[in-house]
Symmetry: C2
Subunit: 127 residues, 2 copies
DNA sequence: CGTGTAGTTTCCACTTCGGTTAAATAACTG
DNA sequence: CAGTTATTTAACCGAAGTGGAAACTACACG
């Protein structure tokens, strides 16, 4: 085997679909909306300047990426987030946590002159 | 200031590019390889059954998504991970952490078959 | 200078994506 | 049953993505 990185090999197909699904602002907005609670397709479509079929397809993409689940209630389709795949994404990116934490460590010395995006370190000594 | 949106709205364009860049197994493998240390293009290309131009283009996509940086040393291009954007991805997905943590809660709760409103250790079903 | 090495760009073929309109399906309603 | 509501499917289009081959740039070496 030529691969040095195999522990996420099993999820790779799914991650492929998942990241592709996330690579679209409309779909991320749909996820954000679903994070506040379930909604049907018409409700999800409302904020957008898109036709219903377009939204329907977006939801389908999210569904095939296992980011959203759809359950039928009469003629409605109730959509909800699928937490598992979201967690899989978090888990994937978490592999790289050491990379950016190393970077933050190096930055920590002159954190006093950084824009106030994120400083949650303890001793923020002003330079 | 026309932006009234939440904290990651500014990054949204970048996230678009970033997730699109991640939606490809070759590119994720390149990232994984770079996590072990810097490499030039030929080294990055070695494990793959693709031509060099193809790899070069993949790296370009990663670079434009700010996931990889390339610096020229003589005729070599030294590639390295760009931690910041990786962290941006982690930060985005972290918004949804409550969702999957709630799911784990509910899973824990599902033994008692309670509605997802409040969870008690006892099986108090008020339905 | 020419040659080899490292990498990119250009052009081409092919596929997928994101959107539309129009028609189809499905369930409730009178 | 016809009609309304909710949503999907079908057909289609232009734009973008993925890959290869070939040509090009850039640097080093002799």
């Amino acid at each position: 085997m030529t691969k040095t990185l195999d522990h996420d090999r099993l999820n790779d197909d799914r991650l492929d679909e998942t990241f592709a699904a996330l690579a679209n602002p409309t779909r991320r907005a749909i996820l954000a909306r679903l994070a506040q609670g379930e909604a049907n397709v018409n409700e999800l479509a409302a904020p957008f300047d898109l036709t219903l079929p377009a939204i329907s397809k977006h939801i389908k993409v999210l569904e095939q990426a296992r980011l959203v689940r759809r359950t039928a209630h009469a003629q409605y389709r109730r959509c909800s987030l699928d937490a598992a795949q979201l967690e899989a994404v978090a888990s994937w990116v978490d592999q790289y946590r050491p990379v950016w934490e190393a970077r933050l460590d190096r930055l920590d010395d002159y954190v006093g002159q950084l824009p106030p995006k994120r400083q949650q370190k303890k001793g923020t000594r002003h330079g």
